[in-house]
Symmetry: C2
Subunit: 666 residues, 2 copies
Amino acid sequence: MSKTAVNKDLASERAKCEFNVEELTNYLDGGRENTARRRRIEDKVLSVEELKDVVPEEYLSHKEKYENAIRKAILFYKVQKNLEDPKQPENERIRINYRNMINSAIFKDNSPLALHFVMFIPAIIGQASDEQRDYWLKRAKNVEIIGTYAQTELGHGTFIRGLETTATYDPATEEFVLHSPTLTAYKWWPGGLAHTANYCVVMAQLYTKGKSCGIQPFMVQIRDEETHMPLPGIKLGEIGAKLGFNTVNNGFLGFDNHRIPRDRMLMKNAQVSKDGTFTAGANSKLTYGTMVYVRVLIVNNMANFLAKAVTIAVRYSAVRRQSKLKPEDPEPQILDYVTQQHKLFIGIATSHAYSRTALWLWDHYAKVTSELNAGKLDNLPELHSLACCLKVLSATDAAVLVERSRLACGGHGYMLSSNLPQTYGLVTPASTYEGENTVLLLQVARSLVKAWQQMLKGKPLTPSMSYLADQNRIDRWDGSVNGIIRAFQKVARGKIAWSVTCFEKYQKEGLSYEDAWNKASVQLTAAAESHGRAIVVQVFKAETDRTTSSLSLPLRKALDQLVELFTLYWALERLGDLLLYTPLSEGDIRDMQTRYEELLEKIRPNAVGLVDAFDFRDEILNSALGAYDGRVYERLMEEALKSPLNAEPVNSSFHKYLKPFMRGKL
Amino acid sequence: MSKTAVNKDLASERAKCEFNVEELTNYLDGGRENTARRRRIEDKVLSVEELKDVVPEEYLSHKEKYENAIRKAILFYKVQKNLEDPKQPENERIRINYRNMINSAIFKDNSPLALHFVMFIPAIIGQASDEQRDYWLKRAKNVEIIGTYAQTELGHGTFIRGLETTATYDPATEEFVLHSPTLTAYKWWPGGLAHTANYCVVMAQLYTKGKSCGIQPFMVQIRDEETHMPLPGIKLGEIGAKLGFNTVNNGFLGFDNHRIPRDRMLMKNAQVSKDGTFTAGANSKLTYGTMVYVRVLIVNNMANFLAKAVTIAVRYSAVRRQSKLKPEDPEPQILDYVTQQHKLFIGIATSHAYSRTALWLWDHYAKVTSELNAGKLDNLPELHSLACCLKVLSATDAAVLVERSRLACGGHGYMLSSNLPQTYGLVTPASTYEGENTVLLLQVARSLVKAWQQMLKGKPLTPSMSYLADQNRIDRWDGSVNGIIRAFQKVARGKIAWSVTCFEKYQKEGLSYEDAWNKASVQLTAAAESHGRAIVVQVFKAETDRTTSSLSLPLRKALDQLVELFTLYWALERLGDLLLYTPLSEGDIRDMQTRYEELLEKIRPNAVGLVDAFDFRDEILNSALGAYDGRVYERLMEEALKSPLNAEPVNSSFHKYLKPFMRGKL
């Protein structure tokens, strides 16, 4: 097959797609201009030859990987810098760039400079006083210094109050003394911390005048700007190899009574005066804003990574032929197996669901943020609870469905040249970082239980929980998408009610509040998950309806099919719940199964078009199995030949070990 | 904390365990002598200093990993060789060594010589004629040659009939001409094939006298014994980096009209005479035996890997303290969170379930094999179906529960020093190799549909499917373990009946047999899975009852709790099915949930004892989080310091890139 030809199966898939692929791409990007802008960025970055690896990074040693990543990170930064429109407001930039995945074309395992931009600069913006900000933001934005953000410690992650690093104010010298009293107090995880950053925003327990004043942020220089040597009293290093993110240079950081000037505490909120007087911040809840912001980004990221994985798997499934359905026919494309459609089409639908949900959540966030600036805090708790919930579900579902996509590619999905294992490596930590999933679900459960108890007292509920007040049972099963959404709300309501019952029962039996909560926690997390499911399905349906009216009929039909597939898939996954809390009958289940199978059949001719519309360039997919031309086997071989082991026909270990061994001389 | 002390939380866990840990270890090993034998082997192997890595292999380049693995593989072979008892029959050796995991103490990612022993030698034994065997087995057993086994091709895996490599007999020269007519015909995957093996058993489509004679095995020399250069007409190389198994040297192999003498076809079964006359083998079904054998090993392996993962996670959960349950108390061990118990205890129970099931299947296999030798083939299809089914479920469950164990360790589970990511890397391919899981489930479904149709005609059923004939409905819910087992059988029966209904309905609507089968395949695989679930629960219960009568009461109680936990867990996971096919009520569900939560509470004090009883030495666990002494944080730091990046305080990339960059000079 020629290097320019497209696999004929893929070509014929494209010919039979029923909607306009470019129209869908524009819809996903939020308009034709955004698509064009994204493609311009991709063209520019990908035209830089030095950003391409001759030897894929998976063949390098851990150290070589880092050094190569530093080289590329700097080059990448400079190329991108030239593409930025400085007049574009931050807010708009994010809304427009949410499908920009160019980063993953350069780094299979992310950049060692990422935290400088994603955490260090936002921390300065969010936590520094005006004066501090003027100074540090300029240095950071000009990259005169490279920073990172250190919060998590070896012994404490999600539970922030447990952090052990101390910052004790010494009024005699007007300094803070940073100290790691134990090994578990060492900062652990920050990207770039090991060998890249020379500054760091450190979260530490503040003590002044002998009193504990909570966790506060400090700007700490960690390496000499000239020599890059760690400063005295600072212990720095790399935390070692991981499942993924191996090029981000995650580090540890310990302090041995290290002193910094008073003005290095970031004092936008709380302050310490020269004499050591502590003034608390106006509202500590304001920091929730940043957490919510990061979680919106995660939901969006999960949608994008899942889209990558399912693009690879669907294209491969159109090219791969295997087994015989009928003795006289050729081997079918594996995409023709209904079991394969069952594995993959839900991945397409789920990516759409979370990408819509992320946009909806983003708008919600923007609204609440502007309310915050006007001093209105009422809607913050609901936003926080929504963001927790959606972060958990998107991270969970993306991990499951990326793995399912990988396994749907059989053995070849196990090859790193498929890029599926690395995609999983980038998706799975989202279940742990920025709030461990189970802990977050329990926070959501807490807000649900509170809402439930308020509802019983006749108090009003927030919009996303208003369904709790609807006490009417469903009389007759309604299998429409909206009917199933209502059924999901009944399930969530029923499970919340039941977990409250358990929780209260345990208390009546004599358990303390906390022990009763713990004992009911398996039910409580299940209730919180059901609440999230109801929201995602409802938002996906409502936002699709709201945003598709101007689209062409064939595309609207294709998108409606995804919404229906998503809804039916989850109904069939949760039959036990539906049987318990709604009047669903066996016959209704059979109907749904039949409709689900019919939908798979309807989506089948559009499958390749649907993933093409995600519009990932080959360099971004980085996958022998998923490239646009479908030259799967040729690319697998081309990638294999890049292995340095293949550079010589006989490895030196033959002469050193194998030959003497086979001759009985070793 | 001193390097010899045991973490005090782990010590107090051990003090409160209610049963004798050593007694459980002996039970798992199949007797005290087996435990002693296993430990002797471990002691011997682990006393060899040269087998230990100074720099963990995750820091090496791909090429260095291979070279280091070859060095260790030879040493490991020699140490093990001296420990073997040559008089021990093969069969007994396997039965005794099924908990020997010493291999994983030496190789995190397996050995490049593994296939020589696991596939090459068994292929000679199973497929060579007596004369051939005398010659090749001696050379292979003395390791005068190193071999592997090549079946899978770039374009074909599970569907063996689709293999494209040809072996065409040329009577003029009395040779077979091996050829790869396409790129997809290249052999792809065999361990050791790339740079290690010099011989290979190759499966190819035999053609003689112009006729196709099916897939046959050929002994092919692939490299010169003196120079190790690939022979003329042979293209060899490495397939590249993978999610795991990176040190086994998986290779590809293509033939360009490569000629081998006639006597290199392995002729135990089929034969080709000098003039090219083909004689088919006596019974092609005999080769099923080997497939079953390998699948039994997989079930056992899955149990062992899962035991490793859950040992790491449970010990870590006893050491890790996080958050506050009660304001006045210290941070609790995370093992005290019921959500954490819910994640982990099922892993312990599942490892027991599959280890029991593997032994049961092994005995079944031994019985059927001896029947085969006596010419009796009747029980082979049932054995084949059982092995398929149990391979699928054990691989699926182990992968899910290893990942759950990893995620239960939070961020630290993402560190390679936890050894959890690598354990997943070794477990997940079992869903693909030796028969892709969905394909196997459809094979099981085929045997179930056949049995169903026979049952309707009044014909007898095999023991594992006899429940299909029981037409009595369950009148009243029975929540005992045996009651739930019967309910699972009703579920399986109901789902099989339903998928047959669908399948037949589609045919009546005009679809061909094959299209109807495909359209019903989501239901059919679900039915096959339910059948497997019913079998595992039933075997776990029956075999535990059968084998524990001589154990002490506290141990029996602990094991019965695991059986009950496993049963209730799956009942709660499958509420939809139970509500559909049994008279389960909402009240019954509440009862089961309460019992499940009570069981978690009962198992809690024994959790560390249960994983200690798996008796993995620290070198086998290879995990900073899971070591016996619980020095979690110290070991995480010790492992981090082994990273070559930590050997120098400033990486060279600072001077080369970062400094000029920050000075605006790059």
